[in-house]
Symmetry: C2
Subunit: 248 residues, 2 copies
DNA sequence: AACATCGTACCGAAATACGGCACATAAAGC
DNA sequence: GCTTTATGTGCCGTATTTCGGTACGATGTT
């Protein structure tokens, strides 16, 4: 089904370049205009794209995709199971709580409850971050089979080389040692993602012990005392097992 | 491009029924198994779906869709332009601030900054609500041409009849009057969406005066004094014009 | 006013999507 | 344990469709 593959690529390219016209797409994709336009017409009929704000010459995405997206991250009531526990965590710690899932070599932030403190860092929802430098990312990695870890590590360094992120300096060997420690402790920490932010994360695992998502507690370095760190570690380990129960 | 249309329908059905197998899909779609399976194979190669947790017999969505979704709601830096202003609004009011966009007859919550108060209502991110009973929804409607309003009204009552929501009692005529008032004031209010929650909303408009998104201030009824209401109204009108400036 | 660029329509040749059928494997029923 | 039902997968000939080169009209640019 070659046409489907092409149409999907067109769809993704429209997402990147919107609002965009036929010719521009054709050169980007190195495909004949005719084919691109046929794909556009079909996507339009299927209501995945629409003419941009009245103009009949440029195309943009509709919300068809985002309807799917919600379900993609929805691993069967994950949000519903996690939110109350996250609420309680925030009450107990007074810090910002994040819920994230894994997408290839990145984590995606899907829920957030903020610290009531004036000093805090707000991460945009739906935002992405490299898996190797985040507490949630490392916590999830630690629960995965070694083969998967190596594959994701490969993707991450490949992606980072062009995105100029932080992780490249970390050899695979050291990472595996760190992950082994995280797996036995049940939680991960990081201070290397955002400056001045210390985060404690733990993975939410399904019945097959594969990680579904992860939650984290983020705190400004100034509040990350030794006592706070140990408290956060204990609380988050309890929280993820509670969420996993609710998930069934 | 019939195959593309079919493949997209298959994709959406997988989203609804995941994790799901070939045969179940085939009966749901009233299509031959062969065709459905070919579509699944193609979607798999394109990495839009994957076998569910190791099993090779059930399919689920990947995050390919959610990558698009973020851009669908991204109307060119909307989130980046809105967040700082929303931050300021929250500081000034001490209440929960929402950012929502319109999707057919529903609004979709895409950002949220929470009230620091202990008493507050937390709406899940990505959540949807009927357009006619929310402050954000009415604020956006009020900025649209009458033809669009009528179309959306029609969709809304159709959707509500099967979703058993609140709006059906409102005749179109009354709605148009209310929207006219909202348009001239520049903000909308509601108390009829969540019990005990009073919300003030205003639309963020593009250069063509069409609504792009809307923000709202949600407060428990107990804190919604007359002074608070007028303060919120003034603040939110100022906020949306500020965001619109940042958008260019 | 001449030109470049863009979106759209047409068309013959060839690729491939189509769906019925059959087989193999796994669950369910007795 | 054996039969029966359901499910995932492979095959194949026909004909429906896609494919991309080319051409035309509209738009706006120098």
């Amino acid at each position: 089904m070659n046409s489907v593959r092409k149409a999907l690529v067109v769809l993704e390219t429209v997402a990147d370049l919107q609002p965009v016209g036929v010719s521009e797409l054709a050169v980007h994709l190195k495909q004949p205009k005719s084919s691109v336009q046929r794909a556009l017409e079909t996507l339009h009929e299927a209501a995945w794209i629409r003419p941009a704000s009245g103009e009949r010459t440029r195309w943009e995405l509709t919300f068809r995709a985002s309807r799917l997206a919600r379900k993609a991250g929805n691993h069967f009531g994950l949000r519903e199971a996690a939110l109350p526990v996250m609420e309680q965590l925030r009450r107990e710690t007074g810090e910002t709580i994040h819920l994230a899932v894994l997408d290839e070599s990145e984590i995606v932030l899907i829920e957030r409850l903020e610290s009531p403190h004036a000093v805090r860092h707000v991460e945009p929802l739906g935002g992405r971050a490299p898996v190797l430098v985040t507490a949630t990312g490392k916590a999830m990695l630690a629960q995965m089979p070694e083969a998967d870890i190596e594959r994701i590590y490969g993707e991450a360094v490949k992606a980072d080389s062009q995105a100029s992120a932080v992780s490249a300096a970390l050899p695979l060997g050291e990472l595996l040692v760190e992950l082994r420690g995280i797996a036995s402790r049940g939680y991960a920490t990081t201070a290397s993602w955002r400056d001045g932010v210390f985060a404690t994360g733990a993975a939410i695992s399904g019945p097959d012990r594969r990680p579904i998502a992860a939650i984290s507690i983020s705190t400004p370095a100034a509040r990350a005392t030794a006592e706070a760190r140990t408290a956060h570690a204990e609380l988050i380990v309890a929280a993820v097992s509670q969420i996993a129960e609710h998930l069934n």
